[in-house]
Symmetry: C2
Subunit: 437 residues, 2 copies
């Protein structure tokens, strides 16, 4: 490739993978176009805090444009990816088509209902700010309606939240909802007692946080129980209907009635992979080569939740943000070598460096594993807090958000306990023919 | 009224008037019920900052319940006021009916289109958080679409914002939009130049901020022009259609094409007053007695934007938050005297104390009048900032929000430049049969 010609690198998605690539890859002969369907990069690990009224939406989101404002070689387009034509090297967006020399697929994941997409309307997932704000609104509204209803059965339903899936997101959500009802809301109502709210966490396998060692799972289960979360282990979801989950567990079949049901049980790759015509796993992830390129298309790479690649032990690299960022840097190096030395340049294999895993459960409750060290409780929580605050500060450069959050987190005030979007909610419900007002 | 019997005081609305009443009125024989259709009290003077991406929604809102959490004599209901039956002393809500001994009407105002309610869908007003978030979203989306469109005429329309009404809200909005495009967004786009965006402020009378002395209006007009706002004085709106305002000004009739049109030209009392069967002015405000009671119903009071009452000079008390709060305290004293001394107790007349007026235009641009002192520019702006920050701190007790806001306000970063609500926007548009995507 001659130095004179400009290469066009198209990046689809501005999550941790896509954004890291765009920020760190730079070459004098390359121009970069970043496409995302939203205008913001999301700090996904704290999304559950928006859903549970701990943070405001803008606290964990930043405009993609402003992050990349000083990069004249980068163009940001807010648009939908309609399809990708790998053979013609072309991406079709809602408003235009882009030809590329290199393509980085970084569109991330979507909530997966394992073939039961009809459950989505009754049990929303948590992937976007819209999801989080909708969950926040519906949970807060349920308490408001519990205060005004005279029907004891309806009140019980309104005061029950079911979280499906005992992975990190499910554990964080269940813990935060329990804290919300037992500490934040507890003095604010006159006719109901928010501490009587039920938060039920359903997990199909015998333990939560299956990616961690069993003793950390046990510790997390105890910490959740202390917060008041009801745990259903070895409990499978048979059906989800409006305000009801049918489960089958140790005690046989049961129907759990709950105003709010949150689905945190599965993630699949963004649906665009289905039409690529390349080999995928069951979750729709692209089975990439060790250099993260898509088989048959050395100029195309898949990273993050979209890519299936193994670590040194032969286990799939987990769908976490550090992995996506490491993949982004790797692809940046591969493309840089291609531009410097031409298509014959050798391509190193991606190697995942596992920095450790942690899951937070509530205030001063968490579990963590770093290398061979395992810890739980206050120490793990302080480690979690430190890492996330560090990230927030570095990423957002906003001491104010930090102080604000620390203050409300420590004083049990929830500054973001605000219901909005009612007008459009009503319009949506009208459209959906819902009987709810 | 015997001491043994409990009196029920019902407060409709938790804006500045209703909330101040609920916080400050307390009597051993009285229980209080506060009804609001939202779950939050809104710091309305900074609502334009949410609409223009300066603040997050939760920064200027606080749950009514948590403000009143330590008051066991106060019950908060999130519900709609359907009607008020003054004769039977009963309020009908969406979910229940409330009988009262005293009633405080504090439902505030709504945007008024002077008989042209069909304009509302094309030119939304700014009264609620939903309004502000919708305006923010549509303005940010317009810039995003301007970046991706190839049609120069559409691009011009997308980059034009019309604000109708040169009162404080219109002036603040126009100034903030001009700043947003000329400072915050300016480096973030590659295909458009946000500083070329047009912000047009339309005012029907010969000067903006008509409640201030003429020299302050002139100063505000100059400060707006410096920011890049196009002013149309003596300019009347003839019609509003989708993305178009038809005006008639000094240069004859003209059609202004703009993706976003914001209506800040009129306020009327909440529509519930229409069905009370008492005398109203044209804006639907209740013509109250000097003690703020509703003629014929000594146990019913109207305060804030809902009430028409004159100050000592015979001029109507303006619809500003200090007036609403002063009225709330007055009504509290009147009810207290009734409870202490019985129905025969004398009722003092309300007296409005005008603390001064100010309007902010942009960073270091404002006008203010306090007593006989008039000032403008940096000094007025510092006064505005000081008063509002003081209020935010006192009200919210959140040093973090303050620092956060000061930081982003001074560095021209807009932390809240986040688009969300797209899913429900699409559903709403589908419902409305809109051709927009």
């Amino acid at each position: 490739m001659s130095v004179a010609k400009q290469s066009h690198v198209v990046v689809l998605g501005a999550g941790f993978g896509g954004l890291t690539f765009a920020r760190e890859f730079q070459h004098p002969t390359a121009r970069i176009t970043v496409v995302d369907r939203t205008n913001h990069h999301l700090f996904q690990p704290l999304l559950y805090q928006v859903a549970t009224s701990g943070l405001a939406a803008p606290d964990i989101a930043q405009p993609i444009r402003s992050i990349l404002a000083d990069r004249d070689d980068v163009t940001v387009l807010m648009d939908e990816v309609k399809s990708v034509d790998l053979r013609r090297r072309r991406v079709v967006l809602g408003g235009e088509e882009l030809d590329y020399d290199f393509l980085v697929l970084a569109l991330g994941g979507v909530t997966s209902y394992f073939g039961h997409s009809e459950w989505e309307q009754f049990a929303p997932g948590l992937k976007s700010l819209d999801d989080a704000l909708r969950i926040r609104r519906e949970v807060l509204l349920a308490f408001e309606r519990a205060e005004t209803t005279a029907d004891p059965e309806l009140r019980r339903q309104l005061m029950t939240i079911v979280v499906v899936g005992g992975g990190p997101t499910g554990v964080e959500l269940a813990g935060a909802f329990a804290e919300l009802s037992r500490t934040v809301l507890v003095d604010d109502f006159r006719r109901i007692d928010p501490s009587q709210a039920r938060v039920i966490l359903i997990e199909g396998s015998p333990r939560i946080l299956g990616h961690l060692p069993p003793e950390l799972s046990r510790s997390a289960e105890q910490q959740l129980a202390t917060l008041g979360v009801e745990l259903r282990l070895d409990c499978r979801v048979k059906d989800v209907r409006r305000h009801a989950v049918e489960v089958e567990g140790a005690n046989g079949p049961e129907i759990l009635r709950a105003e709010n049901i949150i689905w945190a049980a599965g993630v699949a790759a963004a649906p665009v992979t289905r039409a690529l015509g390349v080999e995928l796993d069951r979750a729709g992830r692209v089975k990439v080569f060790p250099d993260l390129s898509v088989p048959g298309f050395p100029e195309v790479f898949a990273i993050g939740d979209l890519a299936l690649v193994s670590d040194e032990d032969g286990k799939p690299v987990p769908g976490v943000s550090p992995a996506a960022m490491q993949m982004a840097r790797h692809v940046g190096r591969v493309i840089d070598r291609q531009l410097e030395r031409g298509p014959a340049a050798s391509r190193p294999a991606f190697r995942y460096w596992d920095k450790g895993t942690m899951a937070t459960i509530g205030r001063s409750a968490a579990v963590a594993k770093v290398g061979n060290f395992e810890f739980s409780g206050l120490l793990a929580w302080l480690a979690w807090l430190f890492i996330h605050l560090l990230f927030l500060v570095g990423f957002r450069n906003k001491a104010g958000v930090l102080l604000h959050w620390l203050y409300s987190y420590c004083t049990y005030k929830r500054g973001a306990r605000i219901v909005f979007g009612l007008d459009e909610r009503n319009a949506t419900n009208k459209l959906a023919g819902s009987e709810r007002t």
